[in-house]
Amino acid sequence: MKNGPSIDEQLEMYRRMIITRRLEEQLGDLHKAGKTRGPIHRCDGQEAVGIAATAMLSDSDYITSTHRGHAHYVGKGLDVYKILAEILGRETGYCKGRAGHMLVADASRGMIGGNAIVGASIPAATGMALSIQVQGRKDVAMCFFGDGAAQTGIAHESMNIASLWKLPVVFILEHNQFGLTVHHSVQSVVSDLSIRGAGYNIPSEIVDGNDAVAVYRAVSTAVDRARRGEGPTLIEAKTYRIEGFSTSDMGGYQLDEDIKAWKARDPIKVSFDALKAEVGEDKLAAIDEAATAVVAAAVERALADPYPTFELHPASAAYSEAR
């Protein structure tokens, strides 16, 4: 199959999508049970983008994420237990509980990191790509951002600079139809935002964001292009946010028929349907079961973990005497 992914790769993507989905479901429950703090931004329905777009990356490649980053975390190889521990504010989390659910980072895997300033993931990855280029490395940087984030000025500035300097960066626009509660048509008259690539001479492509294989192929081409030093690509993955903006969202602004239509094209279902002929349903069910168990165990373990205790951070201190 040209550009992959192999069946094994597809199965691994399938497994990671399940991990992510179970994580989201568990977080929904934990939120209802009052065990999380702040709103959690679930990505149910858009897992294929984050999982498939990162599947061809290695640890020395970088990704930057958003407030809705769980699929990106899992795709980049982070451990669901340590993600959960972080979200639950525990000492054992990736960031000792200091970061919380929107800002998870694992530098050892090049996931640096979640970002809750809308749009900030874009210059962040662009800066990493600059660093890679200055060092003469062959790695790439990738950013995820939403259709809402595409309206920020830094999206424009970053794309212009990335193209100008042929930086090894891949822009992944997760078009999930809404920015917070506002429909994309109330944020821009242009619904296919990838048209903007032309304004920077950046090649762009629209891809079915609910089809992991399609995402993988489009992104692989972009990643290869970046590694060859030919510059950035903009990929617009069309998808949908099934569970709303966040756990504190009051809902009401997403149409029932849309939710239904997108649920019918759930990325996990799409992958399941594509893979069942190749490997059989049992194999897929076994993967599901195992992944579900991993997440359940992670929740249990993280919930039992200790909270951190506060200490001052000398590097942040204002007087030299305190450093």
Partner: protein, 325 residues
């Protein structure tokens, strides 16, 4: 007088001012169809239409710059910026645009806009959604900055802000929206900008506080009362212009002061309060002013960490005891 939540008081102020003046209009992220993520603008698009209540793209820098010039040309825009943490994005509009024109253009223009936002910690929102960056704005000449604590002040000061001829940055706090209290329903109920409010009278020490820290200071005064210390609690309300007379008068009586602000300590708003007292009340002071603030580090997420860094009644009371020691 009705009992209203703080968010409802703000809503009432917006509604009344929009009814009174057709040039008042609102814009911001998620404020129209959804009614605002903190529900402050609920029902207003339905009442006033899509031209006067607008959902916007995520483009804070431009929105703020637009408020400045819209205000210069005949309207009274009220812009909502969802989190005070995003104030850096609107700072060019405030510091390089709104701040300068009235003076630099020799009074040819005025800019009656209001920029509403909410800040502060305590909700587990993390380092990028919990800051109190009030000092960044209070530093800017020509911009007023207010931070009401009670529902009545929320309403009266928002109405005052909308009617003001200068730019006003209106600071709310995410933990105040559900506070319920009496709110006058007179449509000309205005709380003048630039006047502090005495919350608790006292003779032993003055506690000057801003925003939610006023509530913690009130609790601190109770703790101190148990020790026989009579603390005076003053809600500054208006961060700029600051009510210097209120500060001087209180210190003249108590000779001791604690200043409380939820922002970072170094170069924070509490530093100005301390310096103001140094400038204007040094001779009345019997002990150094105590600053109670966030320590100098990003707001952490995990609950025990966040609680450790936020100023609270116990820390304020301790500071007062230290000042009196």
């Amino acid at each position: 007088m009705a009992k209203l939540r703080y968010a409802e008081a703000l809503n009432a102020a917006l509604r009344e001012e929009m009814q009174r003046d057709p040039n008042v209009f609102l814009f911001g992220e998620d404020i129209a169809r959804y009614g605002g993520v903190f529900k402050v603008t609920r029902g207003l698009m339905e009442e006033f239409g899509e031209s006067r209540v607008r959902d916007t793209p995520i483009s804070e820098q431009t929105l703020a710059a637009m408020a400045v010039t819209a205000a210069m040309t005949g309207t009274r825009p009220v812009l909502e910026i969802m989190y005070a943490d995003f104030m850096p994005l609107v700072l060019d509009a405030l510091i390089n645009q709104a701040s300068i024109y009235e003076y630099i253009w020799a009074d040819q223009v005025q800019m009656p806009f209001v920029l509403r936002t909410q800040g502060g910690g305590g909700a587990g929102a993390g380092a990028q959604h919990s800051k109190s960056l009030d000092v960044l704005i209070a530093h800017i000449p020509g911009i007023k900055v207010v931070a009401p604590v009670t529902p009545a002040d929320a309403k009266g000061m928002l109405k005052a802000a909308i009617r003001d001829q200068q730019p006003v940055v209106f600071l709310e706090h995410k933990l105040l929206y559900n506070l319920r209290d009496e709110v006058p329903d007179d449509e000309d109920f205005i709380v003048e900008i630039g006047k502090a409010r005495t919350v608790v009278e006292g003779t032993d020490i003055s506690i000057f506080a801003t925003s939610r820290m006023v509530l913690e200071s009130q609790k601190a005064a109770e703790l101190l009362a148990a020790d026989g210390i009579k603390a005076e609690v003053i809600d500054l309300r208006s961060l700029r212009p600051l009510d210097l007379n209120a500060i001087k008068a209180s210190i003249a009586k108590t000779h001791h002061a604690v200043v409380v602000n939820e922002g970072w300590r170094f170069c924070g708003y509490a530093a100005e309060l301390s310096a103001t007292i140094m400038d204007h009340a040094f001779d009345d002071l019997d002990a150094p002013v105590q600053r109670v603030t966030l320590p100098d580090l990003p707001v952490p997420y995990s609950e025990p960490l966040e609680m450790a860094v936020l100023p609270n009644a116990a820390k304020i009371a301790d500071a007062a005891r230290k000042a009196l020691a």
